[in-house]
């Protein structure tokens, strides 16, 4: 049972079940506002140009369209891949971890967070697919059945582990997200007519809301959540092995798996906040997403930021302590004062220092500050991936090879394209899917509904009674 004395009220405004339904579904039952149309158009254009033009351009002409070179064979594509995967941690981490820790305040946010996960993982998944030199032969990477040549994949390769990890994570996240939506789809169905009703009926798998269904629904969610929890840890740990199993100084580090997971949660939570600030403002949902929510997330972000900061310090210390020439060079020369000092110090500021402002309650409760700090964290996390992917490769063992990396316009557009994909996803989500878990919200609201039937309903009731 939720204790108001500790947390304060989660949903303000003395909402009835009906109020919740109406408030949440207002976003899709009303006509699309102008800002929605404009944002959708903007994201769609980004997606169309980035993914509809620059991705085919890369496939048609070659990876040479990007900035990668012999010395730095991986560039923006891998940075963006890791970045999106990191953001994709938000939903599952939010839902599962807070579920396990019985943090009921998650209920007004987890649906959006899970949606984000799905779109972010989709965006992330695009990069490994287009990053290879011969995408048309990509199926080689799957241990597929009709294998007449006796060729098999290399299970030693972290890239292969990636394939399994990401595929599993995407599937599980999507199923978890979808099943959670079943009762809400049914609510939408009940409130709609015609073709829309049919569609939502199909989407809700004919949900009837019987006690038995509810029990099964809740059990399924718990089981799926339990299954997904290790995946949250696994997927980014495995992504980190792409680097830590490598030989490059700056990559070959045992700290990477936890470091990556924490970093992912960091960027995921920040992205959730960024989005929720906007959604709350757009749909005036401050009764559901209260300042207390942001306060709570900000505290988590502060704590994670401390972990990140310590991890950076540990990396620097170990590099010095190892007395390994190459390792020392990468950290103490290249990062701290060398060619890559700017992105490194910016990363430190955005990830380790800036979120420390959340120690002040005023900052935590000022949404402008919260918004910009979380944006800063995501820039910082992008830079962190840049610092991992580029500098160790650019200045590795043999100095004769050293060469720096410069991205091209194509790199940038592909990245914008994935932002477009993500944005289009979020926009569609807002319009067509109940963007908060109504059924869960209702569990946090008052135990009863004050019967406030509408005029129409009163007429109906009257008629019914008369017929009786």
């Amino acid at each position: 049972m939720y204790k108001k004395e500790v947390r304060g009220e989660l949903i303000l405004g003395n909402k009835s079940y009906g109020d919740i339904t109406r408030d949440i579904l207002r976003s899709q039952e009303e006509k699309a506002p102008l800002w929605w149309k404009l944002s959708f158009a903007l994201f769609f254009v980004l997606m169309a140009v980035g993914l509809g033009y620059y991705v085919p351009l890369t496939i048609a002409k070659g990876i040479g369209m990007w900035g990668n070179n012999n010395q730095v064979p991986w560039g923006w594509a891998i940075i963006n891949f890791v970045w999106w995967i990191g953001i994709g941690h938000a939903g599952t981490a939010f839902s599962i971890f807070l579920l396990v820790f019985r943090q009921k305040w998650r209920t007004s946010i987890n649906r959006a967070a899970e949606a984000m996960t799905v779109f972010a993982v989709l965006a992330a998944g695009l990069f490994p697919a287009i990053h290879v030199g011969r995408p048309w032969d990509e199926f080689f990477i799957f241990p597929y059945g009709p294998n007449s040549r006796g060729l098999w994949v290399n299970f030693n390769s972290p890239l292969l582990w990636d394939v399994f990890a990401i595929a599993t994570y995407l599937t599980t996240s999507a199923i978890f997200w979808y099943i959670g939506m079943l009762p809400d789809f049914a609510t939408v169905r009940d409130r709609s007519e015609g073709i829309k009703r049919k569609i939502y009926n199909a989407l809700s798998f004919g949900w009837v809301g019987s006690m038995d269904k509810w029990r099964k629904f809740e059990d399924t969610l718990v089981i799926l959540g339990g299954l997904a929890m290790p995946l949250v840890i696994a997927v980014h740990s495995i992504v980190s092995t792409d680097f830590s199993a490598g030989i490059l100084p700056g990559w070959h580090e045992t700290i990477f798996p936890p470091f990556f997971v924490v970093g992912a949660i960091f960027s995921g939570f920040s992205m959730v906040v960024t989005l929720m600030v906007l959604i709350r403002k757009a749909f005036k949902l401050h009764e559901y997403v209260t300042d207390d929510h942001f306060d709570a997330i900000a505290r988590i972000i502060t704590f994670v930021s401390l972990i990140m900061g310590s991890a950076y310090l540990i990396e620097l210390f170990i590099a010095w302590y190892s007395a390994n020439t190459y390792e020392t060079y990468v950290f103490d020369e290249n990062y701290l004062k060398g060619h890559y000092a700017l992105p490194y110090w910016l990363m430190l500021v955005f990830n380790a220092f800036l979120p420390q402002l959340f120690w002040f309650k005023k900052v935590r409760r000022n949404l402008t500050w919260v918004f910009w700090i979380t944006i800063g964290v995501n820039i910082g996390m992008w830079l962190e991936r840049y610092n991992i992917v580029v500098p160790p490769a650019a200045e590795d063992f043999l100095p004769a090879n050293w060469f720096h990396y410069t991205s091209t316009i194509v790199d940038k557009w592909v990245y914008l394209g994935t932002i477009g994909l993500f944005g289009v996803g979020v926009m569609l989500f807002i319009r067509f899917i109940p963007m908060m878990a109504m059924n869960e919200l209702k569990q946090q609201a008052k135990r009863h509904t004050e019967l406030k039937p509408t005029e129409e309903q009163l007429q109906e009731i009257k008629k019914y009674l008369e017929d009786e």
Binding site: Y53, P56, K61, P73, N154, P158, A245, N401
Partner: protein, 1030 residues
């Protein structure tokens, strides 16, 4: 048939094509600057196309079909051709830049690879980058494909008739007929020239060397009374002092000298002493980068320094002292070393100045080097040009004393000062003919251009050193309607038959009849019986012909008398020799680059993309500037400067070059070609030959006073290496020691190897890659000896030719996407600074060839998700191109960064291609090596196709493989035998000894990658480590 024109424009355009403009006749493939720009900017059409493509792609991907290419077998197999088996023919390459006896590999009638001929005592099986690349020039579509008169096509018969008539008239009128040729070392051609002269008595033959050696010839004439250049034996020298002579790179006969030099640096054959090499030079040359002691000097200092050295030696040997000029450079150590090795030392200077050459001759004479390290009983005939004669020729042509000029292998309009004047003079001649392969700068101004065959289509012979001959034979039928230049001379002289008949007759009568030199410990030479009757002789000689043709080389004994040194000359001309005028301002030095040379092969993309061994720059000409000067003057790399001197000016970008004299700038020859072909057209740079004017009748390539101004513009340069120091990692990357330390302790400099060997034995965190049981048969390996490697880069081109490695173009080199499987890392020593990143003013230089190390515990193999790069049971790191999907993870994980990715479709033609998008040029591809598709990773395979060929040959002959039987391309090309390939499992193989040598180590061995390539610690012959100057 009747032809209708749609419009007057169409008719006009067809008419224009009839008068062929050579510059538009050839397709301008490759990249112009605008095109590079367009690659990255898309227009609306592209946008729509690709937008459509994105939807159509999914459909197309499932339904597209590979085009069918048919391979049709021979119906009647030509004799001597077995499909799939290569034939090898001995021949000779002789251009104004290079000479080598070579063996040409011919596959299915196409010459595809040039290799050194090991039977040659001159080039000793070695080659250089240009010789390796020469095979592509055969397929150069920019070659002139038919004879031309005043820009119009003409038939051979008509041209011959007209020229013969005019020659007759001019000779009858008593006007001179000048034949200006690149130095001719062919004895048969010279004989032909004699016959030509007999028919046209006014004919005069003048040799033009793009880079002049005429001062050496003049100095020898003055001091020895002999016109010519002696034979230098670097192999017999224990102390070598070079003054502005890049004898390992470009001076006189670099292939020969590199081979000889390497013998004196060899520590693998049991010898414990190596030569000591002093180098004093203005620019940083390849030779200087290999010297034990090196110092930069101003161009004007050379004379002062040599006089000081001269007197230091004269005072000890009782020789002629001459007036000394003030010189602050200490020569005591060098003089002492030279004196301690009398008769085993060698002093050479590359400066085209008679006074300097006279002093050098005197020093060598006092040291007793003549007859020992310098052999004047034979002559080096490679350079015979006399500058004053060229000058005279053009003067005569201007004055109207000459009526005709014939250019053969010479391009004075490009190679000489005041090209416009020369072109105008040529245009006025009553008869002007060019026998050349292209419509080059000179040929554009003549009436008749008669295209010469490529040397691979011709019969030829050569006598690079008197008495040492080599033969050349065609390896392919003529590709186009060209004719060997000699046949043109024969036609005009009225000699019938082919040049082959003429050559064979000349050889049998005049060369094979001479007594063959006794072989040193070999049984190959067949002693000719001089008492046999003539008829017997002919039969013997005929068989001698076949053998000479098969061997490619032939040597006869020469009983040349060594001339006496005329010491009096020095005394008599003391005033002139010691005359000195102090130069002022910045001095320009015009030099030759290893790859480009005099610009003869400027249309060869392999050479244009070859990184210069010192500057590591490709595709461009630039001004080399010392770091100090750049700092003082505020010039930055890539700033464009205008240089003016001798009424000529060029604008070129700056390249900062450590080790160069701060009062000088350097510009290479060979750029700014305007009529060499489409590749050369796209290369930047300007011709530096215009700065070169004569002093005392000799063209001066250094010490040219220049005015320099900054233009404020910048121009991008493409270097393959942009970080020059080792960042204090020398002990891990490039190990070196001094001779004395090595003599005391053979592990010296390589102590870490001992350390790691012990430590890594116990490392078992990861699987130990090397288990002898895994390699039951062969285990291939490569040993690279730093002591012999000079960094000359012949191996890079050899590898490129052998393995069909693509050319990527300047823009892609700038993006560091060059495809060379073998690269040579060049490091400069750094200041003892915390960051180690600042290069010393006069650095020590280290050349390190790096190719795939074929690690037995390879980091690249583990990370490939599709297992496209597995390890073979012969120790090779294999690459399955068909399996590769191009994740590039292996490239990341290779600590040596030797893996190359096909960023674009480099090899199948297309936009980024200079080479393989041409059906004719594609004929140079090696059919044994698969070409790589876009999107796959490639790298050195240790020439797996050669290994396979060798194994199959041994198998078919039912025997075991012999050590040294398989030669990988880089090893074959190396003039100094620095690379040895072999089987480390083969008992008694040379490579086992090298692997066990105390000097050997694996690159980055602490990573426990267990490479199959070992490097052998460099031993410098100096008293103190890290001391560059003596």
């Amino acid at each position: 048939m009747k032809k209708y024109w749609r419009s007057l424009e169409e008719l006009e355009s067809v008419r224009k094509n009839e008068t062929i403009e050579p510059s538009i006749e050839f397709p301008t493939d490759g990249l112009s600057k605008e095109e590079i720009k367009n690659k990255y900017v898309s227009n609306r059409r592209d946008f729509l196309k690709l937008l459509g493509f994105s939807t159509a792609y999914a459909v197309a991907a499932t339904s597209c079909q590979q085009p069918v290419r048919k391979a049709i077998p021979f119906l009647q197999r030509p004799a001597d051709i077995t499909p799939g088996v290569a034939s090898h023919y001995a021949t000779t390459i002789s251009t104004p830049d290079d000479y080598a006896a070579v063996v040409v590999k011919v596959r299915d009638g196409r010459p595809i690879k040039i290799e050194g001929n090991k039977l040659s005592k001159i080039t000793q099986g070695g080659t250089n980058a240009r010789i390796q690349a020469a095979v592509l020039d055969l397929y150069d579509t920019a070659r002139l494909q038919h004879p031309v008169k005043n820009g119009k096509k003409i038939t051979w018969d008509k041209a011959d008739a007209e020229i013969t008539k005019k020659l007759g008239e001019i000779a009858a009128a008593g006007q001179k007929i000048y034949i200006i040729a690149g130095t001719v070392i062919s004895p048969t051609t010279k004989k032909l020239f004699e016959e030509f002269k007999a028919k046209y008595p006014t004919a005069k033959f003048v040799y033009l060397d793009p880079v002049s050696y005429s001062a050496i010839i003049a100095a020898n004439e003055a001091t020895f009374g002999k016109v010519g250049i002696p034979v230098y034996h670097f192999d017999k020298a224990k102390v070598i002092a070079g003054f502005n002579a890049d004898f390992l790179g470009t001076w006189l006969s670099p292939v020969q000298f590199a081979a000889d030099y390497a013998k004196t640096r060899d520590l693998t054959n049991g010898q414990t002493e190596i030569s000591r090499h002093y180098q004093y030079e203005t620019l940083m040359s390849l030779t200087g980068s290999n010297a034990d002691y090196r110092r930069y000097i101003k161009p004007a200092q050379e004379k002062k320094l040599l006089i000081k050295l001269h007197n230091a030696i004269a005072s000890q040997t009782g020789g002629q002292m001459i007036k000394e000029l003030p010189c602050e450079i200490d020569v005591k150590k060098m003089a002492a070393d030279l004196l301690a090795n009398k008769g085993q030392s060698l002093v050479v200077s590359g400066t085209n100045d008679t006074d300097i050459q006279v002093i050098v001759n005197s020093i060598n004479n006092m040291l007793g080097n003549y007859g020992k390290t310098i052999d004047f009983s034979r002559e080096t005939l490679l350079k015979q040009g006399r500058d004053e004669k060229i000058h005279q020729a053009f003067a005569d042509m201007k004055d109207g004393k000459a009526g005709a000029v014939i250019f053969y292998n010479a391009n004075p309009v490009y190679n000489c000062h005041k090209s416009d004047e020369k072109a105008a003079v040529i245009k006025k001649m009553a008869l002007s003919v060019a026998l050349t392969d292209k419509l080059d700068e000179t040929a554009k101004n003549v009436q008749y251009v008669l295209p010469d065959n490529h040397f691979l289509e011709s019969w030829s012979d050569a006598e690079p050193v008197s008495g040492m001959f080599s033969l050349g034979q065609p390896t392919i039928n003529k590709l186009w309607d060209t004719r060997q230049a000699q046949e043109s001379f024969m036609k005009w002289t009225g000699i019938s038959g082919s040049f082959y008949d003429y050559l064979k007759k000349n050889w049998i009568e005049n060369i094979l009849s001479k007594k063959e030199a006794p072989e040193e410990g070999g049984e190959q030479g067949v002693q000719q019986d001089s008492t046999a009757t003539e008829s017997q002789n002919i039969i013997d000689f005929t068989s001698g012909w076949n053998k000479a043709l098969q061997d490619g080389v032939y040597e006869v004994a020469v009983n040349g008398e060594a001339p006496q040194f005329n010491a009096a000359y020095l005394k008599e001309n003391e005033a002139k020799i010691t005359a000195f005028t102090k130069p002022s301002g910045m001095q320009l030095v015009v030099y030759e680059k290893i790859g480009i040379g005099s610009g003869l092969m400027a249309n060869n993309p392999w050479l244009q993309e070859l990184p210069d061994p010192i500057s590591k720059a490709t595709w461009d000409n630039y001004i080399t500037v010392a770091p100090k000067t750049a700092k003082e003057k505020g010039w930055k790399q890539e700033d464009v400067l205008t240089v003016k001197a001798n009424g000529y000016e060029v604008s070129l970008p700056v390249l900062i070059q450590p080790g160069q004299d701060p009062s000088t700038i350097g510009i290479a020859l060979g750029y700014g070609r305007t009529a060499a072909g489409p590749v050369a057209d796209q290369v930047g740079g300007a011709n530096a030959a215009g700065f070169v004017t004569a002093k005392d009748g000799h063209r001066q390539f250094s010490g040219i006073a220049v005015e320099i101004s900054k233009t404020g513009k910048t121009y991008p340069l493409a270097q393959t290496q942009t970080h020059d120091t080792m960042e204090g990692r020398g002990e891990d990357i490039a190990r070196e020691t001094t001779l004395a330390a090595w003599q005391k302790d053979k592990h010296s400099g390589n102590e870490k190897h001992v350390f790691f060997k012990e430590k890594l034995e116990h490392v078992n965190l990861y699987k130990n890659g090397y288990n002898p049981e895994d390699y039951p048969g062969h285990h291939w390996g490569l040993a690279i000896d730093y002591n012999k490697c000079t960094g000359c880069s012949a191996c890079i081109i050899a590898c490129q030719v052998e393995n069909n490695i693509a050319i990527v173009g300047k823009e892609q080199v700038r993006r560091r996407r060059n495809m060379h499987w073998l690269r040579i890392d060049r490091y400069y020593s750094s200041k003892e600074d915390k960051l180690y990143s600042e290069v010393e003013d006069n650095p020590e230089v280290f050349h390190q060839p790096v190719m795939c190390q074929h690690c037995d515990n390879a980091p690249c193999e583990n990370v490939c998700p599709v297992a496209a790069t597995p390890h073979t049971n012969e120790g090779l790191n294999a690459m399955a191109y068909n399996r590769c999907i191009g994740t590039r993870y292996c490239m990341n994980n290779c600590p040596y960064k030797v893996r190359r990715f096909n960023w674009f479709n480099f090899v199948e033609g297309g936009d980024y291609n200079y080479l393989f998008n041409d059906e004719v040029k594609r004929m140079v591809l090696n059919p044994d090596v698969v070409i790589r598709q876009r999107g796959v990773v490639e790298k050195c395979t240790l020439c797996v196709q050669r290994i396979q060929e060798g194994k199959l040959k041994a198998k078919s002959e039912g025997r075991e493989l012999r050590d040294g039987e398989i030669e990988v391309a880089c090893e074959q090309a190396c003039p100094s035998n620095a690379i040895v390939f072999g089987d480390t499992n083969m008992e008694g193989a040379r490579i086992i000894k090298l692997f066990q040598d105390e000097r050997s180590y694996g690159l980055l061995e602490e990573l426990k990658t267990l490479p199959s390539v070992v490097y052998m610690t460099k031993v410098r012959n100096k008293d103190e480590e890290h001391k560059t100057e003596a």
